[in-house]
Symmetry: C2
Subunit: 290 residues, 2 copies
Protein backbone atom coordinates (compact mmCIF):
# COMPACT_ATOMS: atom_id res chain seq x y z
CA UNK A 1 0.00 0.00 0.00
CA UNK A 2 1.19 3.46 -0.93
CA UNK A 3 0.05 4.97 2.38
CA UNK A 4 2.03 2.44 4.43
CA UNK A 5 5.10 2.93 2.32
CA UNK A 6 5.00 6.70 2.88
CA UNK A 7 4.37 6.37 6.62
CA UNK A 8 7.27 3.95 6.98
CA UNK A 9 9.63 6.30 5.16
CA UNK A 10 8.49 9.23 7.29
CA UNK A 11 8.92 7.26 10.51
CA UNK A 12 12.46 6.29 9.54
CA UNK A 13 13.35 9.93 8.91
CA UNK A 14 11.80 11.05 12.21
CA UNK A 15 13.63 8.34 14.15
CA UNK A 16 16.98 9.63 12.90
CA UNK A 17 16.18 13.09 14.26
CA UNK A 18 14.94 11.72 17.56
CA UNK A 19 17.78 9.35 18.38
CA UNK A 20 20.84 10.22 20.45
CA UNK A 21 20.94 12.85 23.16
CA UNK A 22 18.57 15.51 21.86
CA UNK A 23 16.24 17.51 24.12
CA UNK A 24 13.24 15.20 24.77
CA UNK A 25 10.41 17.74 24.40
CA UNK A 26 11.64 19.03 21.05
CA UNK A 27 12.09 15.41 19.91
CA UNK A 28 8.48 14.71 20.90
CA UNK A 29 7.30 17.90 19.18
CA UNK A 30 8.72 16.65 15.86
CA UNK A 31 6.37 13.67 15.96
CA UNK A 32 3.50 15.85 17.12
CA UNK A 33 3.98 18.02 14.02
CA UNK A 34 3.92 15.07 11.61
CA UNK A 35 1.68 12.39 13.17
CA UNK A 36 -1.09 11.62 12.65
CA UNK A 37 -0.89 13.17 9.23
CA UNK A 38 -3.38 14.78 6.90
CA UNK A 39 -3.98 13.24 3.50
CA UNK A 40 -0.21 13.01 2.77
CA UNK A 41 -1.21 14.29 -0.65
CA UNK A 42 2.24 15.62 -1.66
CA UNK A 43 4.21 12.42 -0.95
CA UNK A 44 1.38 10.39 -2.52
CA UNK A 45 1.65 12.39 -5.75
CA UNK A 46 5.44 12.14 -5.61
CA UNK A 47 5.45 8.38 -5.15
CA UNK A 48 2.73 7.90 -7.78
CA UNK A 49 4.78 9.84 -10.34
CA UNK A 50 7.89 7.83 -9.42
CA UNK A 51 5.95 4.59 -9.88
CA UNK A 52 4.60 5.82 -13.23
CA UNK A 53 8.24 6.44 -14.24
CA UNK A 54 9.47 2.99 -13.23
CA UNK A 55 10.55 3.61 -9.59
CA UNK A 56 13.87 1.84 -10.11
CA UNK A 57 15.42 3.25 -6.90
CA UNK A 58 12.66 2.81 -4.29
CA UNK A 59 14.92 3.97 -1.41
CA UNK A 60 15.48 7.28 -3.17
CA UNK A 61 11.75 7.65 -3.85
CA UNK A 62 10.95 6.92 -0.20
CA UNK A 63 13.46 9.49 1.00
CA UNK A 64 11.98 12.06 -1.37
CA UNK A 65 8.44 11.31 -0.17
CA UNK A 66 9.47 11.67 3.47
CA UNK A 67 11.43 14.85 2.72
CA UNK A 68 8.56 16.66 1.00
CA UNK A 69 6.14 15.75 3.82
CA UNK A 70 8.64 16.97 6.46
CA UNK A 71 8.90 20.32 4.68
CA UNK A 72 5.11 20.52 4.40
CA UNK A 73 4.65 19.78 8.12
CA UNK A 74 7.33 22.39 8.97
CA UNK A 75 5.44 24.98 6.95
CA UNK A 76 2.17 24.18 8.77
CA UNK A 77 3.86 24.59 12.18
CA UNK A 78 5.37 27.96 11.24
CA UNK A 79 2.22 29.17 9.43
CA UNK A 80 0.17 28.49 12.59
CA UNK A 81 2.43 30.71 14.77
CA UNK A 82 0.88 33.74 16.49
CA UNK A 83 2.63 36.14 14.09
CA UNK A 84 0.98 34.43 11.08
CA UNK A 85 -2.41 32.68 11.40
CA UNK A 86 -2.37 32.49 15.22
CA UNK A 87 -4.24 29.21 14.85
CA UNK A 88 -5.42 27.08 17.76
CA UNK A 89 -6.35 23.96 15.81
CA UNK A 90 -4.64 21.92 13.11
CA UNK A 91 -5.67 18.47 11.87
CA UNK A 92 -8.25 18.38 14.66
CA UNK A 93 -5.83 18.91 17.56
CA UNK A 94 -4.10 21.83 19.24
CA UNK A 95 -1.46 23.53 17.08
CA UNK A 96 2.11 22.81 18.10
CA UNK A 97 2.78 26.17 19.73
CA UNK A 98 -0.39 25.79 21.81
CA UNK A 99 0.40 22.20 22.83
CA UNK A 100 4.12 22.83 23.50
CA UNK A 101 5.25 26.45 23.29
CA UNK A 102 6.15 29.07 20.74
CA UNK A 103 9.92 28.49 21.05
CA UNK A 104 9.45 24.77 20.47
CA UNK A 105 7.21 25.48 17.47
CA UNK A 106 9.88 27.68 15.86
CA UNK A 107 12.55 25.06 16.59
CA UNK A 108 10.42 22.12 15.47
CA UNK A 109 9.80 23.86 12.14
CA UNK A 110 13.50 24.63 11.73
CA UNK A 111 14.47 21.06 12.64
CA UNK A 112 11.95 19.55 10.21
CA UNK A 113 13.31 21.70 7.36
CA UNK A 114 16.82 20.47 8.12
CA UNK A 115 15.55 16.89 8.44
CA UNK A 116 13.98 17.14 4.99
CA UNK A 117 17.34 17.89 3.38
CA UNK A 118 19.21 15.42 5.57
CA UNK A 119 16.78 12.65 4.60
CA UNK A 120 17.60 13.23 0.92
CA UNK A 121 21.35 13.46 1.59
CA UNK A 122 21.20 10.25 3.65
CA UNK A 123 19.74 8.33 0.69
CA UNK A 124 21.88 10.14 -1.91
CA UNK A 125 24.94 7.83 -1.94
CA UNK A 126 22.63 5.25 -3.61
CA UNK A 127 22.62 7.54 -6.66
CA UNK A 128 24.51 10.79 -6.03
CA UNK A 129 23.32 12.77 -9.06
CA UNK A 130 19.67 11.94 -8.38
CA UNK A 131 20.14 12.83 -4.73
CA UNK A 132 21.61 16.21 -5.62
CA UNK A 133 18.86 16.90 -8.18
CA UNK A 134 16.22 16.12 -5.53
CA UNK A 135 17.83 18.43 -2.99
CA UNK A 136 17.93 21.24 -5.53
CA UNK A 137 14.27 20.83 -6.52
CA UNK A 138 13.14 20.70 -2.90
CA UNK A 139 15.23 23.78 -2.02
CA UNK A 140 13.89 25.73 -5.00
CA UNK A 141 10.30 24.99 -4.06
CA UNK A 142 10.80 25.65 -0.34
CA UNK A 143 12.94 28.79 -0.09
CA UNK A 144 13.40 32.06 -1.93
CA UNK A 145 12.54 33.32 -4.51
CA UNK A 146 10.09 30.63 -5.76
CA UNK A 147 9.22 28.38 -2.83
CA UNK A 148 6.60 28.27 -0.11
CA UNK A 149 8.63 30.73 2.03
CA UNK A 150 8.36 33.22 -0.83
CA UNK A 151 4.63 32.50 -1.05
CA UNK A 152 4.14 33.27 2.61
CA UNK A 153 6.41 36.31 2.20
CA UNK A 154 4.02 37.83 -0.33
CA UNK A 155 1.53 38.31 2.51
CA UNK A 156 3.93 40.91 3.97
CA UNK A 157 3.95 42.99 0.79
CA UNK A 158 1.80 46.08 0.25
CA UNK A 159 1.21 45.07 -3.35
CA UNK A 160 0.75 41.37 -4.03
CA UNK A 161 1.71 39.70 -7.30
CA UNK A 162 -1.27 37.29 -7.14
CA UNK A 163 0.08 34.86 -9.70
CA UNK A 164 3.50 34.62 -8.03
CA UNK A 165 1.79 34.43 -4.63
CA UNK A 166 -0.43 31.44 -5.41
CA UNK A 167 2.16 29.67 -7.50
CA UNK A 168 4.67 29.89 -4.63
CA UNK A 169 2.41 29.51 -1.62
CA UNK A 170 0.47 26.40 -2.62
CA UNK A 171 1.77 25.45 -6.03
CA UNK A 172 5.44 25.16 -5.13
CA UNK A 173 5.26 21.91 -3.16
CA UNK A 174 2.96 20.31 -5.74
CA UNK A 175 5.47 21.17 -8.45
CA UNK A 176 8.15 19.73 -6.17
CA UNK A 177 6.04 16.57 -5.77
CA UNK A 178 5.70 15.82 -9.49
CA UNK A 179 9.27 16.90 -10.32
CA UNK A 180 10.84 14.98 -7.43
CA UNK A 181 8.81 11.88 -8.34
CA UNK A 182 10.28 12.00 -11.84
CA UNK A 183 13.81 12.80 -10.61
CA UNK A 184 13.71 9.99 -8.03
CA UNK A 185 13.05 7.57 -10.88
CA UNK A 186 15.89 9.03 -12.95
CA UNK A 187 13.69 11.01 -15.37
CA UNK A 188 14.06 14.64 -16.44
CA UNK A 189 11.93 16.62 -13.98
CA UNK A 190 11.32 19.57 -16.31
CA UNK A 191 8.27 18.23 -18.26
CA UNK A 192 6.56 17.48 -14.92
CA UNK A 193 6.31 21.09 -13.78
CA UNK A 194 3.00 21.83 -15.50
CA UNK A 195 1.18 18.88 -13.94
CA UNK A 196 2.33 19.93 -10.49
CA UNK A 197 1.35 23.55 -11.10
CA UNK A 198 -2.15 22.53 -12.22
CA UNK A 199 -2.70 20.20 -9.27
CA UNK A 200 -1.50 23.01 -7.01
CA UNK A 201 -3.93 25.50 -8.55
CA UNK A 202 -6.83 23.07 -8.23
CA UNK A 203 -5.88 22.39 -4.64
CA UNK A 204 -5.76 26.11 -3.86
CA UNK A 205 -9.20 26.80 -5.33
CA UNK A 206 -10.66 23.73 -3.56
CA UNK A 207 -9.06 24.89 -0.31
CA UNK A 208 -10.56 28.37 -0.74
CA UNK A 209 -13.97 26.78 -1.31
CA UNK A 210 -13.62 24.57 1.76
CA UNK A 211 -12.53 27.52 3.87
CA UNK A 212 -15.61 29.45 2.76
CA UNK A 213 -18.18 26.64 2.91
CA UNK A 214 -17.29 24.11 5.61
CA UNK A 215 -17.50 24.50 9.37
CA UNK A 216 -14.71 24.01 11.87
CA UNK A 217 -15.68 20.42 12.73
CA UNK A 218 -15.29 19.36 9.09
CA UNK A 219 -12.14 21.33 8.50
CA UNK A 220 -10.23 20.35 11.68
CA UNK A 221 -9.16 24.00 11.85
CA UNK A 222 -10.97 27.36 12.03
CA UNK A 223 -13.07 28.20 8.96
CA UNK A 224 -13.47 31.58 7.27
CA UNK A 225 -9.76 32.28 7.85
CA UNK A 226 -9.10 33.76 4.41
CA UNK A 227 -11.89 36.23 4.86
CA UNK A 228 -10.92 37.08 8.44
CA UNK A 229 -7.26 37.60 7.51
CA UNK A 230 -8.16 39.50 4.33
CA UNK A 231 -6.22 36.99 2.27
CA UNK A 232 -6.71 36.79 -1.50
CA UNK A 233 -8.91 33.79 -2.30
CA UNK A 234 -10.64 32.41 -5.39
CA UNK A 235 -13.98 32.72 -3.57
CA UNK A 236 -13.41 36.38 -2.72
CA UNK A 237 -12.35 37.01 -6.32
CA UNK A 238 -14.91 34.93 -8.26
CA UNK A 239 -17.68 34.07 -5.80
CA UNK A 240 -18.52 30.46 -4.95
CA UNK A 241 -20.11 29.76 -8.36
CA UNK A 242 -17.14 31.21 -10.19
CA UNK A 243 -14.65 29.31 -8.04
CA UNK A 244 -16.42 25.98 -8.68
CA UNK A 245 -16.34 26.70 -12.41
CA UNK A 246 -12.65 27.58 -12.17
CA UNK A 247 -11.88 24.32 -10.37
CA UNK A 248 -13.60 22.36 -13.14
CA UNK A 249 -11.61 24.20 -15.80
CA UNK A 250 -8.30 23.49 -14.10
CA UNK A 251 -9.04 19.83 -13.51
CA UNK A 252 -10.06 19.20 -17.10
CA UNK A 253 -6.63 20.44 -18.23
CA UNK A 254 -4.72 18.47 -15.62
CA UNK A 255 -5.02 15.01 -17.17
CA UNK A 256 -3.82 16.38 -20.50
CA UNK A 257 -0.69 17.74 -18.87
CA UNK A 258 0.63 14.35 -17.70
CA UNK A 259 3.90 13.73 -19.58
CA UNK A 260 4.18 10.53 -21.52
CA UNK A 261 5.57 7.74 -19.29
CA UNK A 262 5.06 3.98 -18.81
CA UNK A 263 2.42 4.46 -16.08
CA UNK A 264 0.56 7.33 -17.72
CA UNK A 265 -2.90 5.68 -17.69
CA UNK A 266 -2.73 4.71 -14.03
CA UNK A 267 -1.54 8.17 -13.08
CA UNK A 268 -4.46 9.75 -14.98
CA UNK A 269 -6.81 7.52 -12.98
CA UNK A 270 -5.25 8.66 -9.71
CA UNK A 271 -5.48 12.34 -10.64
CA UNK A 272 -9.16 11.93 -11.54
CA UNK A 273 -9.82 10.19 -8.22
CA UNK A 274 -8.10 13.03 -6.37
CA UNK A 275 -10.03 15.61 -8.35
CA UNK A 276 -13.31 14.16 -7.11
CA UNK A 277 -12.04 14.20 -3.55
CA UNK A 278 -10.73 17.75 -3.92
CA UNK A 279 -13.98 19.45 -4.92
CA UNK A 280 -15.92 19.90 -1.69
CA UNK A 281 -19.19 17.99 -1.94
CA UNK A 282 -20.98 20.89 -0.26
CA UNK A 283 -20.06 23.19 -3.14
CA UNK A 284 -21.11 20.69 -5.76
CA UNK A 285 -24.42 20.04 -3.99
CA UNK A 286 -25.19 23.73 -3.81
CA UNK A 287 -24.16 24.41 -7.38
CA UNK A 288 -24.72 21.16 -9.28
CA UNK A 289 -23.53 21.06 -12.83
CA UNK A 290 -21.12 23.94 -12.43
CA UNK B 1 42.29 37.73 1.20
CA UNK B 2 40.28 35.15 3.09
CA UNK B 3 37.67 37.73 4.17
CA UNK B 4 37.01 38.83 0.56
CA UNK B 5 36.78 35.26 -0.62
CA UNK B 6 34.13 34.46 2.01
CA UNK B 7 32.14 37.63 1.31
CA UNK B 8 32.13 36.93 -2.43
CA UNK B 9 30.86 33.39 -1.86
CA UNK B 10 28.15 34.63 0.49
CA UNK B 11 27.05 37.33 -1.95
CA UNK B 12 26.76 34.79 -4.76
CA UNK B 13 24.54 32.58 -2.59
CA UNK B 14 22.35 35.51 -1.53
CA UNK B 15 21.96 36.66 -5.13
CA UNK B 16 20.53 33.28 -6.14
CA UNK B 17 17.84 33.61 -3.45
CA UNK B 18 17.06 37.18 -4.39
CA UNK B 19 16.73 36.79 -8.15
CA UNK B 20 13.51 36.12 -10.01
CA UNK B 21 10.06 37.11 -8.84
CA UNK B 22 10.29 36.76 -5.08
CA UNK B 23 8.59 39.15 -2.64
CA UNK B 24 10.89 42.21 -2.45
CA UNK B 25 10.80 42.86 1.31
CA UNK B 26 11.68 39.28 2.20
CA UNK B 27 14.46 39.39 -0.41
CA UNK B 28 15.81 42.54 1.25
CA UNK B 29 15.49 40.98 4.69
CA UNK B 30 17.82 38.15 3.63
CA UNK B 31 20.62 40.65 3.04
CA UNK B 32 19.75 42.52 6.23
CA UNK B 33 20.25 39.28 8.17
CA UNK B 34 23.67 38.58 6.68
CA UNK B 35 25.26 41.97 5.87
CA UNK B 36 27.30 43.57 7.26
CA UNK B 37 28.49 40.47 9.04
CA UNK B 38 30.12 39.81 12.35
CA UNK B 39 33.59 38.25 12.46
CA UNK B 40 32.57 35.49 9.99
CA UNK B 41 34.47 33.22 12.35
CA UNK B 42 32.83 29.95 11.26
CA UNK B 43 33.48 30.30 7.51
CA UNK B 44 36.97 31.60 8.30
CA UNK B 45 37.76 28.46 10.30
CA UNK B 46 36.17 26.30 7.59
CA UNK B 47 38.18 27.89 4.79
CA UNK B 48 41.39 27.82 6.84
CA UNK B 49 41.00 24.11 7.48
CA UNK B 50 40.26 23.50 3.78
CA UNK B 51 43.42 25.46 2.86
CA UNK B 52 45.44 23.48 5.40
CA UNK B 53 44.15 20.31 3.68
CA UNK B 54 45.08 21.45 0.16
CA UNK B 55 41.83 23.17 -0.96
CA UNK B 56 41.82 21.35 -4.30
CA UNK B 57 38.15 22.24 -5.06
CA UNK B 58 37.92 25.94 -4.17
CA UNK B 59 34.31 26.22 -5.48
CA UNK B 60 33.21 23.51 -3.09
CA UNK B 61 35.04 25.19 -0.20
CA UNK B 62 33.43 28.53 -1.03
CA UNK B 63 29.96 27.00 -1.14
CA UNK B 64 30.60 25.35 2.23
CA UNK B 65 31.81 28.64 3.75
CA UNK B 66 28.74 30.49 2.48
CA UNK B 67 26.42 27.70 3.65
CA UNK B 68 27.69 27.63 7.22
CA UNK B 69 27.43 31.42 7.52
CA UNK B 70 23.87 31.37 6.12
CA UNK B 71 22.85 28.83 8.77
CA UNK B 72 24.57 30.89 11.46
CA UNK B 73 22.76 34.07 10.36
CA UNK B 74 19.45 32.17 10.26
CA UNK B 75 20.01 31.03 13.84
CA UNK B 76 20.71 34.60 14.99
CA UNK B 77 17.49 35.87 13.38
CA UNK B 78 15.38 33.14 15.01
CA UNK B 79 17.18 33.39 18.38
CA UNK B 80 16.41 37.12 18.50
CA UNK B 81 12.63 36.56 18.09
CA UNK B 82 10.30 37.73 20.88
CA UNK B 83 9.64 34.13 22.00
CA UNK B 84 13.39 33.56 22.58
CA UNK B 85 15.73 36.46 23.46
CA UNK B 86 13.32 39.23 22.42
CA UNK B 87 16.38 41.21 21.39
CA UNK B 88 16.30 44.74 19.98
CA UNK B 89 19.90 44.93 18.82
CA UNK B 90 22.19 42.65 16.85
CA UNK B 91 25.58 43.53 15.35
CA UNK B 92 24.91 47.15 16.34
CA UNK B 93 21.63 47.57 14.44
CA UNK B 94 17.96 46.73 14.99
CA UNK B 95 17.22 43.00 14.98
CA UNK B 96 15.43 41.76 11.87
CA UNK B 97 11.98 41.39 13.47
CA UNK B 98 12.23 44.97 14.79
CA UNK B 99 13.42 46.39 11.46
CA UNK B 100 10.98 44.38 9.29
CA UNK B 101 8.39 42.33 11.20
CA UNK B 102 8.10 39.08 13.08
CA UNK B 103 6.60 37.18 10.10
CA UNK B 104 9.48 38.30 7.88
CA UNK B 105 11.99 37.28 10.57
CA UNK B 106 10.55 33.77 10.76
CA UNK B 107 10.52 33.51 6.96
CA UNK B 108 13.99 35.00 6.52
CA UNK B 109 15.39 32.42 8.95
CA UNK B 110 13.59 29.60 7.17
CA UNK B 111 14.76 30.84 3.76
CA UNK B 112 18.37 31.16 4.91
CA UNK B 113 18.35 27.57 6.22
CA UNK B 114 17.07 26.36 2.84
CA UNK B 115 19.61 28.56 1.06
CA UNK B 116 22.42 26.97 3.07
CA UNK B 117 21.56 23.51 1.78
CA UNK B 118 20.82 24.75 -1.73
CA UNK B 119 24.21 26.47 -1.89
CA UNK B 120 25.94 23.15 -1.18
CA UNK B 121 23.74 21.25 -3.64
CA UNK B 122 24.41 23.89 -6.30
CA UNK B 123 28.17 23.31 -6.03
CA UNK B 124 27.85 19.55 -5.54
CA UNK B 125 27.95 18.41 -9.21
CA UNK B 126 31.63 19.49 -9.15
CA UNK B 127 32.26 16.55 -6.79
CA UNK B 128 29.01 14.75 -5.84
CA UNK B 129 30.32 12.65 -2.95
CA UNK B 130 31.96 15.66 -1.30
CA UNK B 131 28.80 17.68 -1.81
CA UNK B 132 26.67 15.01 -0.16
CA UNK B 133 29.13 14.64 2.74
CA UNK B 134 29.01 18.41 3.31
CA UNK B 135 25.20 18.48 3.31
CA UNK B 136 25.11 15.65 5.84
CA UNK B 137 27.59 17.34 8.20
CA UNK B 138 25.78 20.67 8.01
CA UNK B 139 22.40 18.98 8.61
CA UNK B 140 23.75 17.03 11.58
CA UNK B 141 25.15 20.15 13.20
CA UNK B 142 22.07 22.28 12.47
CA UNK B 143 19.04 20.11 13.28
CA UNK B 144 18.05 17.43 15.73
CA UNK B 145 19.35 15.70 17.79
CA UNK B 146 22.89 17.19 17.78
CA UNK B 147 22.71 20.57 16.06
CA UNK B 148 22.12 24.16 17.09
CA UNK B 149 18.32 23.62 16.99
CA UNK B 150 18.79 20.91 19.62
CA UNK B 151 21.01 23.29 21.62
CA UNK B 152 18.32 25.95 21.63
CA UNK B 153 15.74 23.26 22.40
CA UNK B 154 17.51 22.42 25.67
CA UNK B 155 16.43 25.80 26.98
CA UNK B 156 12.83 24.52 26.91
CA UNK B 157 13.62 21.54 29.13
CA UNK B 158 13.02 21.43 32.87
CA UNK B 159 16.25 19.55 33.40
CA UNK B 160 19.18 20.60 31.20
CA UNK B 161 21.94 18.24 30.15
CA UNK B 162 24.61 20.97 30.34
CA UNK B 163 27.21 19.13 28.31
CA UNK B 164 24.78 18.30 25.50
CA UNK B 165 23.40 21.85 25.69
CA UNK B 166 26.72 23.62 25.21
CA UNK B 167 28.06 21.15 22.71
CA UNK B 168 24.95 21.58 20.55
CA UNK B 169 24.16 25.25 21.06
CA UNK B 170 27.58 26.77 20.37
CA UNK B 171 29.85 23.84 19.63
CA UNK B 172 27.85 22.32 16.79
CA UNK B 173 28.63 24.91 14.11
CA UNK B 174 32.31 25.02 15.08
CA UNK B 175 32.48 21.25 14.69
CA UNK B 176 30.69 21.71 11.34
CA UNK B 177 33.30 24.35 10.40
CA UNK B 178 36.36 22.15 10.95
CA UNK B 179 34.71 19.01 9.55
CA UNK B 180 33.30 20.75 6.48
CA UNK B 181 36.67 22.38 5.81
CA UNK B 182 38.27 18.94 5.75
CA UNK B 183 35.44 17.38 3.71
CA UNK B 184 35.50 20.23 1.16
CA UNK B 185 39.16 19.39 0.52
CA UNK B 186 38.40 15.68 0.18
CA UNK B 187 39.72 14.64 3.61
CA UNK B 188 38.04 12.44 6.21
CA UNK B 189 36.10 14.85 8.46
CA UNK B 190 36.10 12.58 11.53
CA UNK B 191 39.54 13.51 13.02
CA UNK B 192 38.54 17.18 12.82
CA UNK B 193 35.68 16.95 15.30
CA UNK B 194 37.79 17.50 18.41
CA UNK B 195 39.37 20.73 17.15
CA UNK B 196 35.93 22.12 16.34
CA UNK B 197 34.53 21.10 19.70
CA UNK B 198 37.43 22.78 21.54
CA UNK B 199 37.15 26.00 19.56
CA UNK B 200 33.41 25.94 20.26
CA UNK B 201 33.95 25.51 24.00
CA UNK B 202 36.48 28.32 24.09
CA UNK B 203 34.11 30.54 22.14
CA UNK B 204 31.26 29.79 24.54
CA UNK B 205 33.31 30.62 27.65
CA UNK B 206 34.65 33.80 26.01
CA UNK B 207 31.10 34.77 25.05
CA UNK B 208 29.89 34.21 28.61
CA UNK B 209 32.73 36.44 29.85
CA UNK B 210 31.92 39.15 27.33
CA UNK B 211 28.22 39.00 28.22
CA UNK B 212 29.08 39.45 31.90
CA UNK B 213 31.83 42.08 31.56
CA UNK B 214 31.22 44.31 28.54
CA UNK B 215 28.61 46.98 28.08
CA UNK B 216 26.06 47.23 25.31
CA UNK B 217 28.10 49.65 23.19
CA UNK B 218 31.00 47.18 23.02
CA UNK B 219 28.81 44.14 22.46
CA UNK B 220 26.51 45.56 19.76
CA UNK B 221 23.68 43.82 21.63
CA UNK B 222 22.27 43.93 25.18
CA UNK B 223 24.69 42.76 27.89
CA UNK B 224 23.90 40.66 30.96
CA UNK B 225 21.48 38.56 28.89
CA UNK B 226 22.57 35.19 30.29
CA UNK B 227 21.95 36.41 33.81
CA UNK B 228 18.67 38.07 32.92
CA UNK B 229 17.37 35.01 31.08
CA UNK B 230 18.66 32.63 33.78
CA UNK B 231 20.76 30.82 31.17
CA UNK B 232 23.55 28.50 32.24
CA UNK B 233 26.89 30.27 31.75
CA UNK B 234 30.51 29.59 32.63
CA UNK B 235 30.59 32.83 34.63
CA UNK B 236 27.53 31.84 36.68
CA UNK B 237 29.06 28.44 37.27
CA UNK B 238 32.72 29.30 37.91
CA UNK B 239 32.84 33.04 38.55
CA UNK B 240 34.85 35.39 36.32
CA UNK B 241 38.21 34.17 37.64
CA UNK B 242 37.23 30.55 37.16
CA UNK B 243 35.92 31.19 33.66
CA UNK B 244 39.16 32.94 32.61
CA UNK B 245 41.14 29.98 33.92
CA UNK B 246 38.84 27.57 32.07
CA UNK B 247 39.31 29.51 28.81
CA UNK B 248 43.08 29.23 29.21
CA UNK B 249 42.86 25.49 29.80
CA UNK B 250 40.72 24.90 26.73
CA UNK B 251 42.91 27.01 24.46
CA UNK B 252 46.11 25.28 25.52
CA UNK B 253 44.63 21.96 24.41
CA UNK B 254 43.27 23.29 21.13
CA UNK B 255 46.55 23.52 19.23
CA UNK B 256 47.39 19.96 20.21
CA UNK B 257 44.12 18.73 18.72
CA UNK B 258 44.88 19.88 15.15
CA UNK B 259 45.07 16.75 12.99
CA UNK B 260 48.19 16.27 10.96
CA UNK B 261 47.85 17.93 7.54
CA UNK B 262 50.04 19.86 5.08
CA UNK B 263 49.09 23.27 6.52
CA UNK B 264 49.21 22.27 10.18
CA UNK B 265 51.67 24.97 11.29
CA UNK B 266 49.80 27.79 9.63
CA UNK B 267 46.54 26.59 11.09
CA UNK B 268 48.07 26.51 14.59
CA UNK B 269 49.15 30.12 14.09
CA UNK B 270 45.62 31.13 13.10
CA UNK B 271 44.07 29.37 16.10
CA UNK B 272 46.50 31.14 18.45
CA UNK B 273 45.68 34.48 16.87
CA UNK B 274 41.95 33.81 17.32
CA UNK B 275 42.51 32.71 20.90
CA UNK B 276 44.00 36.09 21.74
CA UNK B 277 41.10 37.84 20.10
CA UNK B 278 38.58 35.61 21.86
CA UNK B 279 39.61 36.30 25.44
CA UNK B 280 38.05 39.65 26.33
CA UNK B 281 40.80 42.12 27.16
CA UNK B 282 38.71 43.46 30.03
CA UNK B 283 38.78 40.09 31.74
CA UNK B 284 42.52 39.68 31.26
CA UNK B 285 43.17 43.19 32.54
CA UNK B 286 41.14 42.56 35.65
CA UNK B 287 42.63 39.16 36.28
CA UNK B 288 46.13 39.22 34.77
CA UNK B 289 48.00 35.98 34.72
CA UNK B 290 44.91 33.84 35.15
Amino acid sequence: MLANRIETALDAALRRGQGGDGPPRLAEALSYACKPGGARIRPTILTSVALACGDDRPCVTDAAAAAIELIHCASLVHDDLPCFDDADLRRGKATLHRAYSEPLAVLAGDSLIVMGFDTLAHAAPEDPMRGIALIRILAQRTGMPDGICAGQGWESEGKIDLRAYHRAKTGALFIAATQMGAAAAGQDPEPWEELGARIGEAFQVADDLRDALLDEAHLGKPCGQDDRLGRPSAVAELGVRGAVKRLDDILSGTIASIPSCPGEAKLAELVTRYAHKLAPREALLRFPGE
